[in-house]
Structures are given as structure tokens and as C-alpha cells.
Symmetry: D2
Subunit: 362 residues, 4 copies
């Protein structure tokens, strides 16, 4: 009988590998000195209240072109515990061999799951998740901090816990002051403008995650070009340590549908790296610029205040993987000027696009 | 803390229900006196070597428009048993409440998993799966038979067990004679022409299943209109008992990609129920028939031998949910005749389409 | 040789019909006393600067589930006139037989094409388009008015003519006062909030059109569920006259991506007809309502100001063709109250959603 | 008014260019010494019985990743001639400037359109299409031949002309002997096995074309990964002359759905260039080969006769853009042997796949 089992098991493994080997890379440019890593730090499996085996999460990540994930099972909520009894580290252990094989960076993490305040938080880069099982939530955070975890507040505007408005509680101030909050989820399924504001004001890292519980295909319409909510991490190297250093230094942008949310320096970098100038044609009264968008990102442009002798688009959409030509007309003998516009889907503040200004001259 | 758990649990349940409530009905007509039930009798979950929780299988079935499924965990192969220790009935128990809520008929089954011969078999309509755990495979089959199970041989041409040719072994003759084989999988991922031939020769029920282990979205390209391999069961009533009676009386057709495999009486029934005549126009030398294909099925027609004075299509594709007009020309004063063609994707024998002949007259 | 031509021609016609016979109905409910007709009143063909033959526009309309279209060739701009010389009525004449055959209402129209002011306008329900060929634009409008045309201003915020801001010119006041403007395009490719505002203030009919020039598949991603911009017309009967009467009485809603733009009475009607209550369950402290969205429309709900003892969703998405259950909790012994929310994608004013308030009681 | 016209015209042009600039390259490898050019030599526009303007055909070709096209209007069948009167060269002239701009090789051609025999033929590389307008078909072929045209028989099995069987007529022998037939369409909408056989027997070039009349999106489901039927031409250079030289020397493969049809030397070349060996692992009793399919092509493998001590797949599908690992087991102390299989979708004869044999050794 052993022979049979071996045979079946080999088939299973080869199936997993075969179906997982198709990877759709996400085309988002690197920045000078940094690699752009695509990360999801909030994921569940059957080891808490998700509905898939941990290896599925690795394969999903591979197929979608992610670089790093964390399986952040609830410490306090394990509805399948009648059938599955295990250490809080077990989900990580089950997924690790396949993650290594597939080149996915797997970061050990857990979700500290409490009513509001302080609600749910994720601690990642843990060495031992079991030590987070504590009666008092402060002890759980303290245990995470002792392991040098990076801790962020999850879905602060989740309606089950904040039914009307997204509030910052005293408990969050305490956690922040105790060094137990380094970031906040600005996106988890949906966008939380208050979290975005708090990150800007308090110097916290902006995080975007999927919080997926079901097979990811149920949540994301890949056939329509969709992607899961994720954090773009600008890392000095493609490694767990590279990600940790970047998170601590707030080098992230949140990628949510067609919107990017982050600090202007990174958004500007992505915008300018994505667009390769191919040609500049100067006429007697106009300048035409031809450029290629080498990324999967779309950019929505909207003209800002400008010299009336400089005529150009009111709105323009820079579609991905597409060659574009934009023409600027200079009227009334004007020889140079500024082209000003907002990129309305790159948010430097809640719902506020990034302003750009480029010089043109004949 | 209880309150919290309740809240999270309620959220989870409502999510499951919400995301599962979108059902894409499969449009395949009923036959006179029978409902056409869409069934998959071969499915795995984390309780054997699948990678999803049993409730996922119910939700997938609901979304895809299935009527009945069976979770047929391997009795002898449970690679996750280090983390999941449970009765062989447990998968069924976990899924049953949601199946009832969603109106999916859940049939208790198991896979008897042995090397070749006799290979793998499924026993469905079990009352107690645990009793199938036996050292000798004959005892396992006997235990299933004592429960009045319907037993069928799985993927007889699986290359891991039949690397070169698909053979019928003495052990299969013994099982057949002992009343321990009522059907064979003619389709499991792929089509097995030998199984098709054996079903015809030995009076066995033709079965088609998915044998899904991963999330179903990995195997089927739904965005391209794909569907899982399944058995169409022509049942007197939509119930577990209705399905059993139909299986015992061989009232099935296997639905595999664009192909239907089964006995002519059922294929002809599906073909004629799918096509609603809307209009017949008679000219002096031609007859035009307008009909609507009310089903999701496509039909590929190819002209057969015919009177040369009867002119019509050489090949014709009847696309689903589409109105069609076919014109037949009668030359040289001929007043009536026969239109003969093969429906090349309705297989009455291995790779052999169903022949049709319809009379026309001016 | 005649015989050959006949044969080829018959093939051509049957191909056109065959490929055109697949119609995807758009599921948007009728209102009490009115049929909801899906209309596009701004379309081009090779008879002005479009790139397809007029019959293609009829087939596209059929396939997409439209009820009525107007081929509105530019009177003044005909770049293909070296090869195609024809009356301005010719496009209509070419398309009419197929439109009749396919049940598409074809309305004779033309585009009066001038620089700003007054820019471009469409006149529909014409009897003779040739009479609109005039040196002075006022004569062209007068000719249209003499034919009892319905006239609307096209794409008022088109950047080629209004490069910075969308202005209302004196010429528009004159046209309005002369009875030569009954509506404005609120949507043409994109949404014009100023046009929306003007329609509300001046009592003009809101119109949404595609202004398609190329094959429609280049502009709309049907595989992703997209649709062309269109006008929903609430007509007493499905006829050209029914549409005219509805337009004159401003019974329209503009359908643009996932957004509907119109007067509250019609938006509320569509919302309530789309949602069929299937079940209301009253608990001791909560009421659950189950309803089915029978339409292709999605509705985005956002909670408005409410009694704090009435707890329900903050945001909720009512997906199309999907069963939903919403639960309202009544706390602190409250027995009844109001559920208030905004439907954020049904716009009663520029970018302003429709407010709803429904009573609940235990 | 001039200014207006200029403005509108510029917009039109920029729209055409903008929407046409997205090109989806078809990934099919080059062969040693040859570029693989994707060509469609059979296309219609409004200048015969197509329904789009010639520029649309250039833009479609650009978007789909084609290298070369020919607009082959019927000489004898021009149903829109009431509105469009023009030289038979006009379609080419209208499309040429855009083709040059977009880098599409535009080949002047025409369709000689007669009843059977000899049916329809295309002549390409013409200098003057008008000279093909002749009463006697032989004069039309002679006129084409005088221009050094490459001439091929179109859709030999078209049911409108060959209702029952696909026959070769005496007239075809005459054309062949007169040097007026260099190739045959093996694919035009569907596959013609007889044409395939004739090409092999008579040394004719195998051609595959779309024969598109409507917007191409109506015929091909691009969202499902479809492509038009086309000819892969193995050319010494990417130019009209390069294509002509390759066609005359029969260096083509027909690309039809998932099937490639052609001579073994080219099919074998495509197969081996598409698969890049990444790794070979030798165990004590097995060899594993890891390779990447760098093409858009799928390959279906089916085991052929082999040494029973060499165990490997029965069937295997090499999906495009995917990493694969195939393991071969050597039993009973065997140290080396042959892996034999058929690639069932690369047809070297009608419906007959290409045989492959590769050596393995420990």
C-alpha cells in the first residue's frame, strides 16, 4: 500500500506545481535604488476562518505576481478548531516549503482580534505566534513588540466595529505611544480616508491588503484585469529583511483598483518611470511628446490652472502598455510655458490627486 | 469577548451567503417526464487531499448552477491528517447545513483508493463512510454494497495507473459480477473512449465528474464560458432518491466541454427540446426553417448521405441562445425528401456523432 | 454571371442576419405606464466621418439590446466625399430595411457641425436632412425646427471646442429662446456636470449618447460587461412617436457606466422596480429584508444621518441579478425607525446621489 | 469654416491613431534565418462587399499583431456601387498612408470572383487591379499573371459552390498548368482537408486567411484568446518582397485556432524554438526536463509506440507561457531510450499530428 500512497502524493505535488507555475507578472516600475515588491500582509486560511489550505495562498500569490505574503490567522477566532487543532505557527509551517520552492517571501504573522477599541491589528515578522495568545490585548501587543514585529491597525472603518464613523480611540494613542502601531490599513476591501489622513499626520506606514478568506478568484475578477488590494513596498533588496526595512521607513504605496495612494515622492517616481519618452516633435507653434506607458497602471490626467496661451488637453487617460502622443499648442507668439495637470488617481491626500508641472518650449 | 466572536462569525456567515447567492443557471432542457439535474459525484476537500474547506464545494456548486454533488474523500489517502483528524463522514457533516440552506443536494460518498487493479472507485449514497476503511479492497466494496451504494470505477485511463493502454482487469469482472460496479467515469478531466465502449457493452451507467482538488476556478475558465465535467441525470424528481433511481436506470448523459456523451434516446431528446421551431417558410423550390436554440449547448452539424436534388448545408453550427434559419432547396421538381446529418458533438459511440434525418416537403 | 451574384448576395445577407441575430437584452425595468427604451441618438457611418457601413450600426444596436438609434451624419464634414457622394438622407435609407427587419427603431437625424459657439448639435425626427445644409447655422436650425425636429446640443464640454471650461454662450440662449434646443448631451464619452446643471435649471431633456465613429467594439469592453453611453427613454409605446413624446416631456435617464443620471422620480422608479422583496423576517430586535435585484444595474448605498439606535450597513453594494439580505438592528427597546441612505451612483444633481428613507418596525 | 474642418479632422486622425496604437503581439518564434510574419491575404471593405472603411482593416491588423494584409476586393461583385464608384485600386490607396504610418505591410490584391469552376481566387502583389476586370475568367488570371501576381484558390470547399464534396475540376488543372495557381486556402473560416492534401501532392503553398467582411470583432472572440485564421510566412526580411519570396518557396504554416498546418520542417522548427530547456535533472532511475513555452501556442502531446521500460505521460498539454516539468522513468535497469510522441495539433497531413522522438539517458 505504501507504493500507492507515494504515487498519489507525487501526483498531488506535481499538480500543485503545474497549476501554480503560470505567473502573471504585475508591471509596475522599480524606483531608483529600490525594487517595487508587491505584498499582501493580511490573509486567512482554514487555520483560522479562511476556507483554503495554506498552500493555496502561496499558489495564488505566485499566479498573481506577488512577491511576499503573510498568513495572519486570528489568534482569538478559530471556528474550525473542532476539526483543526494546531499551534498558531502551523499555517506558516505548512506553507513555507512551497513558498520557498516558488520564490514567494512568506512572512510569519498573526491577527490580534479584539472588539473596538482597539479592534483588529496584524503583527508581522513574528518568530512565535503562539506567544500572542493572551487574555489582555495589551499583553498580546507587548508579546509582538518583544519579537520586533511590525504592527498595523486593520480595517479601521470596518462597519461591524465602527458602524457610523471611523474613530480614533484613546487606546490607539496608547498603542502608538507604546510603539505598538507602525502602520494602518488604508485599504482593506475598501478605502478608508480617515486612515489615510492619520498616516499622513502621525507618520505611519500606509498599508493595503486583501484580507482574503475565500479562494481569491471569488473576490477579484481577474478576467476583467482586476487585482487584489496590495501594498507596493520599495525595498533595497527582495527579501524579508528588505521588506521590513522599507516598512519601517514608510516606503510604501497602496494599490487599490486603479488608484495609488501614498507619498508624493513615490507616486511621482512611479509615474515618471512608467512613462518612457520616445519622441519630442517641435513645430512652429506646438510641441508633441510621444511616450509609452510601460506599466499596468492607468493614469487619469486633468488640466490644472495654466497660462491661457498654452493649450492642451482638459482630460487625458494614459492607458497601460500603450503609446501616446500629447500635443501642446503655444499661441500668440509664446515660446515656452508650463503644462500643469493633476493625476487624479494618484492620491497624495484623501481623494486628492498629485499635481504635476512640466516645462515646454519651442 | 463572546460578543466579538458572535459578530465576526455572523460576518463570516453573511459573507459566505452573500458571495454564494449568485447562481448561474446552466440552460439544458428537461426531457419529457424527467428533470435534467446537473451533478458532480467526485470532489475532494481538505478532509482528504483537496485544498478547500467543504463549504467551498457547496458554494462553488451553487454558483455554477449544479443540483447535486458528492464529497468523495479518499478513505485511504489523507495527507493532511497530521492537522485534521476526523471521521470519514466529517466532510459531509460540515457541508450539509449550508447545502440545505442553498438547496444543493449533498450525497454522502467516499473514494475507495487502491492501486490498479482495481484502481479507484467511488461509492455514493452511503450511510456510514467509516465502514469502508478496510484492509482488503473487497471488504471495502462489500461494506459499500451493504449500504446500497451506487459504485462506479473512477478515471479508468488515468496514466498513473494505466500508463499505456486502458485495460479491463479480471478484478473488474469480479466486481461487476459481485454487484459492486454500476457505472464508470467516461469523463474525469479527459474523455476515456474505452470506458464509453464498456458502458455500452456491459450496460453500465455513464458518469462524468470533475475530481476537483483545488479551487474550481483554477480548473475551469468560467470567463470563457467553460464548465466542469459533469453528469446530466434525468430524474423523476429533484431529490437524492430521484438521482439514485435515475443512475440505477442509466438515465445519464456526460457533459464534457462542448461534447455530450450518452445513449441516443437522451441525446436526441436534448437536441430536439433545445431547438424551438419558430417559423417554417415554404417557397416554390425551397423550405426555410427558423428555430431558436434555447440552451447553453452548441451543436455541430455535418451533412450525411442524401438525395442530390436536396441541397442544404455541408456543415452548420447551432450556437446557443441564438435564432437560426436553415434553408433546404429542392431541385429538379422534387417535392419532398430527407435532410440527413450527423451532430458531431453528440456521441452515441466513441467519437461517433448522432445521425439525424428529418423530412421536408414543399 | 447573374446567378453568381445572386448566390453571393444571398450568402452575404444570411451572414448579416445570422451574426446579428444574437441579441443581449439589457435588463432595466419598465416604470408604471412606461416602457424603458434604450436609445442612442448620436452615431456616425462612412456617410460622414464614421468608418462602418450603416447596416453595421443596426446590427450593433440589435446585438447590444438597443431599441432605437439615429445615424446623425455631419452635414458639414464628410471626409470620404471623394469616394462617397450622396444625399444627407442616404445613410438612413441604406440602414432602414435592415432596421425594419430587426425591429430596431431608426430615427432620421443629422449633426449640425459648427465651431463654438454654438458648437455641434443633433436634430432628430427629421423628414429631410438635405435641407439642413445651409451657410448660416441659424438657417440650419430653422430648417430643422420647421420639420418639428427634437434638437440637442452635443458634447458641450468637448475640449477641442471648450478647452478650459464648459461655457454657456449667448448663442445658446438665442437657440433656446428660438425653440431650437430641447436637450443637451449630459454624457458623450464622458460626463459633463455643467450640462447636467443646465438641464435642471432650464428644463431641458438629459441625453446620453455614444457618438461612435469606429466599430463599437473598439470603444466598449463588452467582455467586461461594459455598455455604450445611452439614453433611457420612458415611452408610452415602443415607437418613434413614443420616443418623441417622451423626449419632449423630459422622461429620460442617462445611463453612463455604472451611473444613472436623471430626475429623482425616474431614478426612484428604476431603483424600486429593480428590487423585488422576497422575504421580511422580524426578530425580537432586528428586521431582515431579502430582495432580488432583477436588473443589470448595480446600486451603491451609503448610510445617511440616522437614529443611533437603528444599526445597519455603512456601505452596501447591490450587485445585479443577485439575492441580497440586509439586516437592521433596533437597539435599546426601540420598536421602529427609519433607514436612511444615499444611492451614490444615481445622480439627481451633479455627483450627488439620491437620498432614500424607508421605515422599519418590529 | 475652414478652421473648424481642420480641427475636426485632426481630432479624427488622432482618435484613429490613439485607438490603433495598442498592439497585441502574437508570440510565435522566428526560425533560423527567417522571421515569422503573421499575414492575412483575404480581406474585404466597403469597396466590395465588406462593411468597414479600408483604414479599419489596417487598425485591426495593428491591434492584433499582424505584419501584413491584403485588401482583396471582389472585381466582379460590388453591392455598394450605387454609393461607391471607384477604381479597383482605390481600397489600397485609401489604406496605404495609415498602413505606412503603422508599419503594416499592405499588399495590393484582388479577388477574381467566379462561379465554380474555377470559383474564387485571390491574386496578390498586383500593380494594377483594374486590369483584372475581364469577361472571361482566363483573361483575368492572365492579367494577374502578367503582373507577376501570386495567385491562390480561395475556400475550395465553400458549400455555396461545392455543396457536397470538395472537388478538383479540370479548370484547376488548367490554371495550375498555366502558372495561374501557386497556392490554396487550406483555412478560410474552416479547414479544408482536401486542400491540404492537394497542396502536399501538387507542391502548392498552404494559405490561411480570415476572408473578413464585418468588423473583425464579430468573428473572433479576442476576450477568450481567439485569433483570426492566418498564414505564418517565414521570410528572409520583413518586407513585401520578403513575403513574396517566401510564398513562392512554400515557406508557410497555417494558424487556425489551436492548430498549425504545414510541412514538418517548419512545424518542428516552431515546436523546438517555442520550448526553451531550463533544467535537466537526472536521478538514479528517472530524468526530469524543465522547459518554458515562450509562445502563444499550445501543444497537445500523445504518447506513441515506445519501449515498455520507458515510462512517461500518455497525454500532456504544453500550455503557452508556462513552465513545465516532464519526468521520464527508466525501469528494470535500462539506462537510455527514446521518448516518442505525436503533437496532435501540428498537422503534417490532414488531421495527422507530427511525430517526435527524443533520446533520454541517465
Amino acid at each position: 500500500m505504501k507504493k500507492l500512497f507515494f504515487a498519489v502524493s507525487a501526483i498531488l505535488l506535481s499538480c500543485i506545481l503545474a497549476s501554480g507555475q503560470v505567473r502573471n507578472e504585475i508591471d509596475i516600475p522599480d524606483l531608483d535604488g529600490y525594487q517595487t515588491l508587491k505584498c499582501d500582509f493580511h490573509i486567512h486560511t482554514v487555520f483560522s476562518d479562511g476556507t483554503v489550505w495554506p498552500t493555496v495562498r502561496v499558489q495564488e500569490a505566485y499566479k498573481e505576481g506577488l512577491d511576499a505574503i503573510s498568513l495572519t490567522e486570528h489568534i482569538e477566532y478559530r471556528p474550525f478548531s473542532k476539526d483543526i487543532k494546531a499551534s498558531h505557527n502551523r499555517s506558516y509551517e505548512v506553507a513555507k516549503p512551497l513558498a520557498d520552492k516558488m520564490g514567494i517571501i512568506l512572512i510569519k504573522g498573526s491577527e490580534i482580534t479584539r472588539s473596538m477599541p482597539p479592534g483588529h491589528s496584524n503583527a508581522i515578522f513574528l518568530s512565535d505566534a503562539d506567544s500572542l495568545e493572551q487574555d489582555d490585548y495589551k499583553d498580546a501587543f507587548a508579546a509582538a513588540k518583544r519579537q520586533n514585529a511590525f504592527i498595523f491597525w486593520n480595517h479601521p472603518g470596518w462597519e461591524a466595529q465602527q458602524p457610523d464613523t471611523t474613530l480614533w480611540w484613546n487606546e490607539h494613542t496608547e498603542l502608538l505611544e507604546a510603539g505598538c502601531m507602525q502602520g494602518i490599513e488604508v485599504v482593506n476591501g475598501k478605502y478608508f480616508p480617515e486612515a489615510h489622513r492619520w498616516c499622513l499626520e502621525k507618520g505611519l506606514t500606509m498599508i493595503g491588503n486583501s484580507d482574503v478568506h475565500q479562494p481569491i478568484d471569488w473576490n477579484v475578477d481577474f478576467a476583467k484585469g482586476g487585482h487584489r488590494g496590495m501594498t507596493l513596498v520599495f525595498a533595497r533588496e527582495r527579501s524579508e529583511e528588505g521588506i521590513r526595512e522599507a516598512l519601517l521607513n514608510r516606503r510604501t504605496v497602496v494599490y487599490h483598483g486603479e488608484t495609488l495612494i501614498g507619498e508624493e515622492v513615490y507616486l511621482k517616481g512611479l509615474f515618471e518611470k512608467a512613462l518612457e519618452i520616445r519622441d519630442v516633435k517641435k513645430g512652429s507653434k506646438s510641441v508633441s511628446v510621444t511616450f509609452y506607458n510601460n506599466s499596468d497602471l492607468v493614469f487619469y490626467l486633468k488640466k490644472s490652472g495654466h497660462d491661457t496661451d498654452i493649450r492642451y488637453f482638459r482630460d487625458y487617460t494614459i492607458r497601460p502598455h500603450c503609446l501616446h502622443t500629447i500635443t501642446v499648442n503655444l499661441d500668440n507668439g509664446v515660446k515656452s510655458g508650463k503644462v500643469n495637470f493633476e493625476v487624479t488617481n494618484l492620491w497624495v491626500e484623501p481623494y486628492k490627486g498629485m499635481e504635476c508641472s512640466y516645462a515646454v518650449e519651442l
